[in-house]
């Protein structure tokens, strides 16, 4: 490592730093200008078509024309912000914070760090083994693994933008609670012997990585990279989700939805969880559907339970985890998390 490369990386107010920060601020101003014009834009699009705005098709088109740019813009903003925040965290730093922590405190910390630690499901197995072999308790590791995909920036940002801050905060609170309690329960069951044998035999010490010197510009770039990567990957899901939402808005009668997903249908919560578990979508695809369901009179608890089940538990994730967990442990994992989500759905419908 040469001295020259260190000074290049040192954070400081160089002219190029000022340019980057100025550019970011300009982009944010442009963003809010465009965002404020979305309603007139959607009305203009509907007016272009020969369709009556009050008809089923008119409502569906206006929902689609308004929500597509709105959701994509919100997603871009939230993912950018979170990309910057996440540049301060890494799985290795999180592991160092969690190693040797007791259950309880450890579960709370792990679930919270799950929100801000960069995590990709393709790296779930190395992360799992890396945590366990460095002495992070099994239950604490699970709290992280439940929270990281479920309580994420895409889900929170879209709920905030489409359904409102109250629902977003509720999702955050209940999502953390499910991750904390499920991890704690799995820890209390002492199921370490249900890990695959080769996982139990790995004894490695956590590696010390050379410290990374990130400047303000590097962090802005991290945000832009996150936008490229995440928005670039999920936009087809978003459009499919909005199209489904538009269909529900325009065509599914409210009476039917209230009957099936209203708060009087007690069985709808377990049904939503059971249907949601094997389904695989990400938050970006499911939230436009969630918004449409809520405006059509579906009970919020039922919808939240459905959403959590879809995002937190999925078949592809279980197949990945099968490499390190025995079938029995996966069954316990799904059972505990599913029960937690069920409780959230019932509790929420009862309270609100």
């Amino acid at each position: 490592m040469s001295l020259g490369s260190i000074t290049e990386h040192a954070p400081g107010a160089s002219p190029s730093t000022a340019k980057w920060i100025g550019g970011t601020i300009a982009a944010l101003i442009l963003w809010s200008l465009i965002y404020s014009q979305l309603v007139p834009f959607a009305e203009w699009v509907v007016a272009l078509t020969p369709v009556d705005p009050k008809s089923h098709l008119g409502e569906a088109i206006s929902f689609f024309a308004y929500d597509t740019p709105k959701v994509l813009m919100l997603l871009t903003l939230v993912v950018f912000g979170m990309g910057v925040v996440r540049s301060f965290f890494s799985p290795e730093k999180t592991r160092a914070l969690l190693a040797g922590k007791h259950e309880g405190v450890g579960n709370v910390l792990a679930a919270s760090l799950g929100i801000v630690t960069p995590f990709c499901s393709c790296s779930a197995v190395p992360l799992f083994i890396g945590f366990i072999s460095a002495g992070v308790p099994l239950g604490v590791t699970f709290s992280f693994l439940i929270s990281a995909p479920m309580v994420n920036e895409v889900a929170l940002g879209l709920l905030f933008g489409l359904v409102g801050w109250k629902v977003a905060l509720t999702y955050l609170g209940f999502g953390l609670a499910v991750a904390i309690v499920s991890g704690w329960v799995i820890g209390r069951l002492h199921l370490e012997h249900w890990l695959e044998e080769w996982v139990r035999n790995i004894r490695s010490s956590a590696v010390e990585l050379p410290p990374e010197e990130l400047s303000a510009v590097d962090r802005i770039k991290a945000g832009i990279d996150a936008v490229h990567e995440i928005v670039g990957k999920v936009w087809p899901w978003v459009i499919a989700g909005i199209a489904t939402g538009a269909f529900i808005h325009g065509y599914v009668p409210s009476d039917l939805l209230v009957l099936i997903m209203g708060r009087d249908a007690w069985w709808s919560v377990p049904a939503a969880v059971v249907i949601g578990i094997p389904m695989y979508s990400n938050a970006a695809g499911i939230i436009p559907v969630v918004e449409a369901l809520i405006t059509k009179g579906a009970a919020l608890g039922t919808v939240l339970a459905f959403m959590m089940a879809v995002i937190a538990l999925s078949l592809p994730e279980m197949i990945i985890l099968r490499k390190v967990l025995t079938i029995r442990l996966i069954a316990v994992f799904v059972g505990v998390v599913g029960t937690g989500i069920l409780a959230v759905g019932f509790l929420f419908n009862a309270l609100f």
Binding site: S90, E92, I129, G130, F131, S133, S204
Partner: protein, 78 residues
């Protein structure tokens, strides 16, 4: 000849990382042998918690996400 290992279960980013290492080494004229380690147990043995990881002559220099090319140059030159 520098012995370089790229740790990762074979995801797209791991392949890209291996290509970036080779390209940067070629650019700098540093002879390297790049090897991909895809076995989970072997990856875990290096003590990282995120992939792709980069090991140069037995020392872990990077874990998680694509490396920056200026960092790669620094690690390769060290």
């Amino acid at each position: 000849m520098k012995d370089i290992k790229v740790l990762g279960p074979g995801c797209a980013r791991c392949t890209t990382t291996a290509e970036m290492v080779q390209k940067e080494a070629d650019k700098l004229g540093i002879p390297v042998k790049v090897e991909k380690v895809t076995d989970y147990a072997a990856i875990a043995g290096y003590g990282i918690a995120s992939t792709p990881g980069i090991v140069i002559d037995g020392k872990v220099v990077h874990a998680g996400g694509l490396p920056k090319s200026e960092d790669l140059a620094r690690w390769l030159a060290a």
